[in-house]
């Protein structure tokens, strides 16, 4: 064995530990990068040489620079993240709807409805009183305006939900395109024997973002190419990716493939949350509001038609509400122009208020779905509150799971400065030792040369 061999082993060692320092520096530099996966260097002894019947060690080499990542945690994290995003998105929209209803407060429909019936009750005292008749008109207008505001605001939220769904679908398509591009780079790198750890980190970050929008499942093939499926539809594989579009099918907001309109089964992610609120919750609240308003029109008109107005001669058969549709609770224009058209007298005399008594009592009668109108409305408000609370609690619980999984992920893939600094000291010492070896070998060679 010649002295030059020592130089070879030391040189290789220097190069190896320099590379190791590079990797460690890369880890340290990304210590605060949440999407970064720590890289670990595997060392092994260089293939030994067999000379003169001896096996001569050839030094150290780097076997692999591996990403330390748990695919199981990744998969669980994406599923939980999708669930969280779905519930959080639902909660955010339901919160807007809650604000629209403004319950329980003086500004809600409940208070307007009570005031409306109370104004009839107070009219029973002096049915020919102009002030009390105006009070009936004002409370009706207030109720009408409140119903209209709530109805329109909910529809605006519904429209915004649809727009948000469309924008997020475009984002899904963009993300799939980006994953496809990174896939190609990862496969190309692999083909020339280069480990594409950072590219795979980028791809995982994109897939993580995708999982906040839709429920995804990811399988990585033997060439390290990620195959992504969304809600039962193969969205991306080695051959390319599928583009998605938005469709409303039977009133339900759906994600479909652009090409053949295959429907995605949304069970997680923000799109699932948007679709659920758009397709189920909002129609339910609007239907309740419609049922309430229609019943109000029917019951009040039924009594009001029987009454006689204060006009000369007294008239009957007058509707109090013209109609209700699409949030428009329209009060009879003749009444708005002439409050004497309010018909509360059962016999045509101006002091009779039997019809006002009957209208005021509607509020206590079980006229809608086996309950009173205000209780029917309260039930709807409780349903809205429960929906929001359920979403909040699901989101909160899932968030705790996510935090646990994120901790697990951090434990496996996160960079520890202490650990990396220890490695640096270790590699630095190895590097120094190798350099010292070269110096010693040099001295040995000089000794030999001097002998000549």
């Amino acid at each position: 064995m010649g002295l030059s061999r020592i130089f070879d082993i030391s040189r290789r060692s220097l190069a190896t530990y320099q590379k190791a320092m590079d990797i460690t520096s890369h880890n340290v530099a990304n210590a605060s990068n949440e999407n970064y996966t720590r890289q670990r260097i595997s060392f092994s002894a260089e293939n030994p040489e067999k000379t003169a019947g001896f096996i001569w060690g050839a030094g150290v080499k780097i076997d692999d620079v591996a990403r330390i990542r748990s695919t199981l945690v990744d998969s669980q994290l994406r599923t939980s993240n999708g669930e969280f995003q779905m519930q959080d998105q639902k909660s955010a929209i339901l919160s807007q709807i809650e604000q629209v209803f403004s319950e329980p407060s003086d500004l809600g429909i409940s208070n307007s409805l009570t005031k409306f019936f109370n104004s009839w009750n107070e009219l029973t005292v002096t049915p020919n009183s102009t002030a009390l008749r105006y009070q009936v008109v004002q409370s009706s207008q207030q109720l009408s305006s409140r119903v209209k505001t709530v109805y329109d605001s909910i529809n605006t939220i519904k429209y915004d939900t649809m727009r948000d769904f469309t924008e997020k679908t475009t984002r899904v398509n963009n993300l799939l395109k980006q994953i496809q591009q990174v896939n190609v780079q990862v496969v190309d790198s692999g083909a020339v024997g280069i480990s594409a750890n950072d590219l795979m980190d980028s791809r995982d970050a994109i897939i993580d973002e995708l999982s906040t929008l839709v429920n995804v499942s990811v399988i990585t093939d033997n060439k390290n190419s990620a195959n992504v499926s969304i809600g039962g539809i193969q969205a991306l594989d080695a051959s390319g990716y599928v583009e998605f579009d938005v469709q409303v099918i039977n009133g339900k907001l759906s994600l479909v493939t652009k090409e053949n309109h295959a429907k995605v089964s949304l069970s997680g992610g923000q799109l699932a949350g948007l679709s659920s609120v758009y397709s189920e919750k909002i129609p339910d609240y609007i239907k309740s509001l419609d049922d309430l308003s229609n019943r109000l029109v029917e019951t009040v008109n039924e009594q009001h038609q029987k009454g006689y107005s204060l006009s000369d001669p007294p008239q009957n058969g007058i509707l109090f509400f013209d109609s209700y549709s699409d949030g428009n609770l329209i009060i009879n224009n003749n009444i708005l122009n002439d409050i004497n058209q309010i018909a509360v007298s059962a016999d045509g005399t101006e002091g009779n208020s039997e019809i006002a008594v009957k209208i005021a009592n509607i509020n206590h009668q079980k006229t809608l779905d086996g309950t009173t109108m205000t209780d029917f409305y309260s039930r709807m408000i409780a349903r809205l509150g429960n929906d929001k609370q359920t979403s909040d609690r699901f989101a909160e619980t899932t968030d705790l799971v996510i935090q646990q999984l994120t901790q697990q992920k951090g434990s496996v893939s996160g960079v520890s400065i202490d650990e990396e600094m220890t490695n640096i000291i270790k590699y630095q010492r190895s590097y120094q030792a190798s350099a010292r070896l070269i110096s010693i070998a040099d001295e040995m060679l000089e000794t030999v040369i001097r002998m000549v």
């Binding site: 319950e103 329980p104 009183s129 005399t349 208020s353 408000i381 509150g385 901790q407 496996v412 520890s416």
Partner: protein, 417 residues
């Protein structure tokens, strides 16, 4: 377990956020003073709060009605008292006028009785908030006035029997006014039973003397003809002293339907039975028929009675005019005035009962609203003391977290190399 730097950071941020979230919630509650600001804060509480708000609002509305009603009743009582006072004065003058020493001054008594009559008329026409107290529900004109010849008092509106009803609660609707009909008018009540087993075509009749505003006697004849099971046709006629009908054409028959099991009168011409006002201006006849006590039963017997047969104004006018002409009041007239006086005291008593009932209901509502507000407060109002202590505790936790994390997070091996 391997601890990475990202783990420490995210764990700290998550815990910090949770504490801050709780603090924010408490701050919101502290500022608004309310526990439930949106339905999702507590859905079941929201329903309770909405229900309590509705009940309190309803209660306040009923209290407004009750307050107003007390004013109306007080005013009615005051005017009934005026009438009672004037009537007592008339009775006194009638008695004094019989004194032999007063025979030369009968005109003075007539004048005093006339003044009392005017006061009674004023009281009868008294109003509260634009509503005639004893004029029923027709407020189009002053209800009572002298006829053009000044010989009698007549009703100037479509009727004085209308009932002013006001709701005091979900289940209580109270008639507030003493109607002119029940105070001054004659109500002929038909009592007893019609034969439920009678064959179709059976006719049952009854009759009673009635008096017009000038005290002239007429005969009211009623007739019931069976047309079907539980159904009778009711007709009536009024004949003068010569047994001649006062109607050119007989009044239209009304269909009476009785309940097949209880026998009570269910409907008259398809609507709930009420007083039937019968008025004939040319003969100064104005009275009411009340069929509400009439039944259908197997033991048939019907009868008619009247709450008061004579028009009090007419009686007083006659007394006044007689005194002017030097004629002393008769014993019959004294009886008639005393009968009305008794009737008036009854009405005063009834009015007082209504007032008491209103006061009781008002008291009940005040208590109920107080209880409802107490429940509302328990459901909605924040316990500020508890909240401040909780906030203080959360704030302490937050400060400890800041302190500890500021000590731990920046530390690494680097500090010792």
């Amino acid at each position: 377990m391997r601890i990475s730097d990202v783990m420490l950071q995210s764990s700290f941020i998550n815990n910090l956020n949770r504490t801050k979230e709780q603090l924010a919630k408490m701050q919101e509650q502290s500022i608004t003073g309310k526990k439930v600001l949106r339905p999702s804060d507590n859905p079941s509480s929201s329903v309770t709060i909405l229900s309590l708000q509705k009940q309190i609002s309803n209660g306040e509305s009923y209290l407004k009605n009750l307050d107003y009603s007390k004013g109306f009743i007080t005013e009615s009582e005051s005017n009934l008292n005026v009438m009672e006072y004037e009537l007592s004065s008339i009775l006194s003058n009638m008695t004094l006028s019989s004194d032999p020493t007063a025979q030369g001054n009968l005109n003075i008594f007539a004048e005093q009785i006339d003044l009392s009559l005017q006061s009674m008329l004023d009281a009868a026409n008294a109003s509260f908030d634009g509503k005639y107290l004893f004029g029923g529900t027709d407020f189009s004109a002053k209800p009572y006035d002298l006829t053009s010849d000044g010989a009698s008092v007549e009703v100037k509106t479509s009727g004085v029997g209308g009932e002013q009803k006001i709701s005091f609660s979900q289940n209580i609707t109270q008639k507030l006014n003493v109607t002119g009909t029940e105070l001054f008018g004659t109500i002929v009540k038909q009592s007893g039973s019609l034969d439920s087993g009678a064959a179709n075509g059976t006719i049952i009749t009854d009759q009673k003397s009635i008096f017009n505003a000038e005290g002239t006697e007429f005969t009211l004849k009623t007739s019931y003809g069976k047309t079907a099971d539980n159904t009778w046709n009711f007709t009536y006629d009024i004949e003068d002293g010569t047994n001649t009908s006062i109607f050119g054409t007989p009044p239209t028959a009304k269909s009476l339907v009785f309940d097949s099991s209880s026998g009570v009168l269910k409907t008259v011409n398809g609507v709930s039975p009420d007083l039937m006002n019968i008025r004939d201006s040319s003969n100064k006849i104005d009275f009411n028929i009340d069929l509400r006590s009439l039944k259908e039963a197997s033991a048939p017997a019907i009868s008619m009675s009247a709450n008061q047969e004579n028009d009090i104004f007419n009686v007083i006018i006659k007394i006044r005019d007689n005194l002017k002409n030097g004629i002393l009041p008769t014993g019959e007239q004294l009886d008639q005035v005393q009968a009305f006086h008794k009737h008036l005291l009854n009405k005063l008593s009834q009015n007082g009962n209504i007032y008491n009932q209103i006061e009781n209901t008002q008291e009940l509502w005040n208590n109920r609203i107080f209880n409802l507000q107490d429940l509302y407060s328990k459901e909605q109002d924040v316990d500020q003391t508890k909240l401040i202590i909780d906030m203080q505790s959360q704030d302490n936790q937050l400060q400890i977290a800041y302190k500890l994390s500021s000590m731990i997070l920046p530390k690494s091996l680097l500090d010792y190399l």
